[in-house]
Structures are given as structure tokens and as C-alpha cells.
């Protein structure tokens, strides 16, 4: 993989921050955008912008075609069977909420259980809390080990026939753990539960095939995978989506509207009320093309290499402890604590040197509490990061330790 050439595609990466060249290590929160994505979106606005699915004129037809074509490319990117299975949402959070509000309300009954894990992001916890409160259902959490793996030995006993839904992250945004989703899906299906996979950290960074593991629902965000904000994806099996009531009501999602009632449009538009973020959808299509052009295997391998190098460089700093599994069992995120210095202070000092990392609980407060921490610093890597950037992180951290460490 030619990182120098890839970097040239991302204008933001040549910026200077506080008089230092930017080292962007927060792609797990949101990635930078390559020129083909920026250009694809600008082209819509300049050359063929008009509302989709409506106009009987050239611009609208071209925009509709480009939008639906982007959907098809997203479908093949994750190996969905067709465009019916790709519902555009705003982001992962909205995709999960869509399932909770529609499938959940129709299928979860008092006394049912929803199985989550202790390493979930808030967006894969709170929608289920709301649903459970409304329905009198119960949330159950698959525990983790101290080194950040799921307690798979407990899965069978937790899948007790009362569990109607398992919602699990494919990769933790804090620990970096890549979860054995295939085994979870098999066991959950064996116990009669439906499985939703939070793939917000997976789809951007590794090959994902919704048919293997055989996911029922899978959610991810465009903005974490070189695409724009405001566009995300809910993959759902056609039969499940077909049986679900709609989410939001309005234009586009209907077939026929009477004074008292309406009937629904076909999939996937049944779940897309109102003017969609179609420019962003087209941008996501360009992002998918960009990533496919480089190859998801190559991207995953590049990140594995950087992560291993970062773990090696950071773990020799006295007083630095990385949370989560060893390098060969994690994706490209490295969260750590350092010499008792508050993560905000570390992130701030790094920022003064042009290095962007995340500090806080990374939307996983229960996980941090489980680990006995309130906050961590997180560096995360993507296709455009380099070993030199890891060096700058390690060298700067060393100086932060000397300046602020106690």
C-alpha cells in the first residue's frame, strides 16, 4: 500500500496545527475525506442537483440514478443480496434506533430479554434501554474479561430462550477487540434470537460480509469510512425489513395516502421518509469505491502493522498502560492511561504539538466503569496513518510525561 500516495488524496492531512504538521489519530471517531468523495459531492451540487425520486426531468433523474447506484455499490461492498436490504439512515445510531423502534416494538414483549455486551457504545445500549423500559423487557450483558475479550464461555447460559435479540459490536471502539461474531450469530440463531451487529468500527477497516456471519441487522456510519456526515446504513434481511412497521412517516416512504391511512412504499424506501441525504449517499458511494480500489484486506493489514508498532512503542513508556487485547487480536485503536495524568491534559498537550487524539470515555461509560477508569486517551489509525506518526506520538508522549507526570 502506497501511503504517501494515499495521503495526497486527503487535503486535510497536509494542514498545520499549532505550527506543527497535523498527525490525525482520531479516525475511529470520524475519518478524513479523500478528494474523490469531495469531488463527487461537489459535482452533484454544481452539475445535476435536484430532488430525487420525484422530478420528471433530467437533473432529478440523474440525481436519483446516482443515489440508487451508490446504494447498489454499498450493497455489494458488504455483500448484501440487493438494494432492498440497504436502508440509508443518518448514522449507526439512527440505524440501531430504527431497529429498536420498529422491529423492537413489534417483537419485544414483557419479560423478553435483550442481550448486549459490556463493551458496547452508548448507541448500542441506550436505544435498547428505552425499548426495554417501554416493553417491560430486560437487558442482559455478556461480561468481558479484564483484558478486554467477551466471556464466550458464558454465552450459552445467557442465551436462555428468553433472549429475543442479541446486539453486539463487531469491533470495540475502545478496546479494539474484534469479536467472534460468527460464533455469536450461530449460537444466537440456535437459541431463536435475532442478531444486530454494530459494525461502525468494522466496515471502515476490514472486509465485512453480511452473509458470513449471517447477520440479521448490521449498522454502520459513512463518516467513519471516508464518506460524509449525515449518511449511515442499516442492512437488514429482506424478510425482516418487509415484516417491520415503518419508522418515520412522510413523503417518499408511502405508496398511497388517504385521509385516514396510508400504505407503504417498497423496500428500502419504506424506511426513508422525506427528502433523503442523497448528496451524502452519493458521497458514500464514492467512499466505497475509493476503499474498494485500495482493498479492504490491504487496509486491514496496514492498520494491523501500525497498531502492533504503536503498542510496541507505547508500552515501553514508563507508567503507560494500554487497555484491551494484544496487538494481533485487535483493530486499529489503542486506548491507554499514562502516569496518572488526566486524559484531557494529555490530549491537550498532544494537540499543542499538532497531534489529534481522543480523550474521555469514548461513548462507553459503562465499559470504562467496568475497567475501573473514568477516561482514557485513544489513538486510532486508518489507511493514511504512518509509522512516523506513531513515532511522533510516542516521542511527544514521553515529553508530556516529563512535563506533567507525577
Amino acid at each position: 500500500m502506497d501511503t504517501a500516495r494515499i495521503r495526497a488524496d486527503f487535503p486535510a492531512l497536509s494542514c498545520t496545527v499549532h505550527s506543527h504538521p497535523l498527525v490525525f489519530l482520531d479516525s475511529a471517531a470520524s475519518s478524513q475525506k479523500p478528494l474523490p468523495v469531495l469531488e463527487a459531492m461537489e459535482r452533484v451540487y454544481r452539475e445535476y442537483y435536484a430532488n430525487v425520486h420525484r422530478g420528471i426531468y433530467a437533473f432529478s433523474e440523474e440525481a436519483t440514478l446516482a443515489y440508487e447506484n451508490a446504494r447498489d455499490r454499498v450493497a455489494s461492498f458488504i455483500n448484501a443480496r440487493g438494494r432492498e436490504e440497504i436502508v440509508f439512515t443518518r448514522n449507526t445510531t439512527e440505524a440501531i434506533n430504527l431497529v429498536a423502534y420498529t422491529w423492537g416494538r413489534a417483537n419485544i414483549r414483557p419479560g423478553d430479554r435483550i442481550l448486549l455486551t459490556e463493551m458496547e457504545h452508548h448507541s448500542n445500549i441506550v436505544p435498547w434501554q428505552l425499548l426495554a423500559q417501554e416493553k417491560g423487557a430486560q437487558l442482559v450483558y455478556l461480561p468481558i474479561t479484564d483484558d478486554g475479550f467477551l466471556r464466550m464461555d458464558l454465552l450459552d447460559s445467557l442465551l436462555d430462550g428468553q433472549v429475543k435479540l442479541v446486539a453486539v459490536t463487531m469491533m470495540s471502539n475502545v478496546l479494539g477487540t474484534i469479536n467472534p461474531v460468527r460464533e455469536i450469530v450461530q449460537k444466537a440463531h440456535g437459541a431463536g434470537a435475532v442478531v444486530l451487529v454494530d459494525a461502525a468500527q468494522a466496515v471502515p477497516h476490514m472486509p465485512v460480509d453480511v452473509q458470513d456471519p449471517d447477520c440479521d441487522f448490521l449498522a454502520f456510519s459513512g463518516h467513519k469510512m471516508c464518506g460524509p456526515t449525515g449518511i449511515g446504513v442499516l442492512y437488514g434481511k429482506e424478510a425482516l425489513l418487509e415484516a417491520m412497521p415503518p419508522f418515520l412517516g412522510g413523503g417518499d416512504m408511502i405508496r398511497k395516502v388517504e385521509w385516514e391511512s396510508a400504505t407503504w412504499n417498497r423496500l428500502p424506501w419504506k424506511f426513508e421518509a422525506g427528502t433523503p441525504a442523497f448528496v451524502e449517499g452519493i458521497g458514500l458511494g464514492a467512499a466505497v469505491d475509493y476503499l474498494s480500489g485500495i482493498g479492504m484486506e490491504a487496509i486491514a493489514a496496514h492498520e494491523r502493522g501500525l497498531t502492533a508498532y504503536a503498542m510496541e512503542r507505547l508500552s515501553v513508556l514508563p507508567g503507560l498502560s494500554v487497555i484491551g487485547p494484544p496487538a494481533h487480536q485487535r483493530g486499529g485503536v489503542v486506548a491507554f492511561t499514562f502516569r496518572g495524568i488526566h486524559p484531557h491534559d494529555i490530549a491537550h498537550m498532544l494537540d499543542m504539538e499538532g497531534i489529534a487524539v481522543r480523550a474521555g470515555h469514548h461513548c462507553a461509560q459503562p465499559l470504562h466503569r467496568r475497567l475501573g477508569l473514568t477516561a482514557t486517551v485513544r489513538a486510532s489509525f486508518y489507511l493514511y496513518n504512518t509509522a512516523e506518526e506513531v513515532d511522533r506520538l510516542a516521542q511527544t508522549l514521553e515529553r508530556v510525561g516529563e512535563t506533567l507526570g507525577r
Binding site: 499549532h18 488526566h342 499543542m352 470515555h361 473514568t374 506533567l404
Partner: protein
């Protein structure tokens, strides 16, 4: 290395002033910020003249929030309740002697948020 932390912040973080609790405080104030885990606990005792006689704090958090709380305990000495109520964000930021960027203001103002909650409780307890 370049640091936006002033000598004042580094000093108050390393050597917090008035750390601990008071035997019989008149005003007790807390602020917990779950988003970053900053916690400030502030105690104030008033003298017979109604002015702040003693202040103490305990807490856990980033350098800015802890330095700010420590500075707080010094600057509140001798003030009247009305002065405390009139305390502005800009005054508190000024004590830190360093430009505080927008995304760290919350840390710096943590003790002020605590104080305001404590004053409200104090007023309620005093029946007005």
C-alpha cells in the same frame, strides 16, 4: 515543550491549596462531570461578619479543573455571599492566568458550577 498551562496552573495542580474538609461548613457544593470524570467538592465556612472565613476543597480531575478549584479557595476568602453570587466566569478564567480554549472551559468552570449549586442550596435552606 510548549505548554499552554501557566505556572499558576502547574503550581496549583502540584500543590493544591486548602485541600480537605471543614469541621462545620455553611455551604457545601459539588459538581460531577461524568463526561470527563471531573469531580469537585467545595466547603465554605462563614465568619460572624457573614464573610467567607474558610474554604476547602477535594476532588479528582484534570489539571485545569483541580488548579481552578485550588485557586478558587484562595480567591473566595473574605468575600460576602453577594460577591459569591456575582462571581462571573470571566473572573474565574482570569485567575488561571492562561488562555483557556473553548473545549476546556468546562474544566476550568467546574468549581464555579459547584459553587452556584451550593449557593442555591444554601439559600433554600435559609428559607429564601
Amino acid at each position: 515543550m510548549s505548554t499552554f498551562y501557566s505556572e499558576t496552573i502547574l503550581d496549583h495542580y502540584a500543590h493544591p491549596r486548602n485541600w480537605g474538609r471543614l469541621p462545620s461548613p455553611d455551604i457545601v457544593a459539588d459538581n460531577d462531570d461524568p463526561s470527563c470524570g471531573d469531580q469537585v467538592h467545595l466547603e465554605i465556612a462563614l465568619g460572624p461578619d457573614g464573610r467567607v472565613a474558610q474554604v476547602a476543597f477535594e476532588g479528582e480531575g484534570c489539571m485545569i479543573s483541580m488548579a481552578s478549584a485550588s485557586l478558587f479557595t484562595e480567591h473566595l476568602q473574605g468575600k460576602r455571599i453577594a460577591d459569591l453570587e456575582g462571581l462571573t466566569e470571566e473572573e474565574v478564567l482570569g485567575w488561571l492566568d492562561a488562555p483557556i480554549p473553548p473545549n476546556r472551559r468546562r474544566c476550568a468552570l467546574s468549581p464555579l458550577i459547584a459553587l452556584r449549586a451550593g449557593l442555591a442550596a444554601y439559600r433554600r435552606a435559609a428559607g429564601g
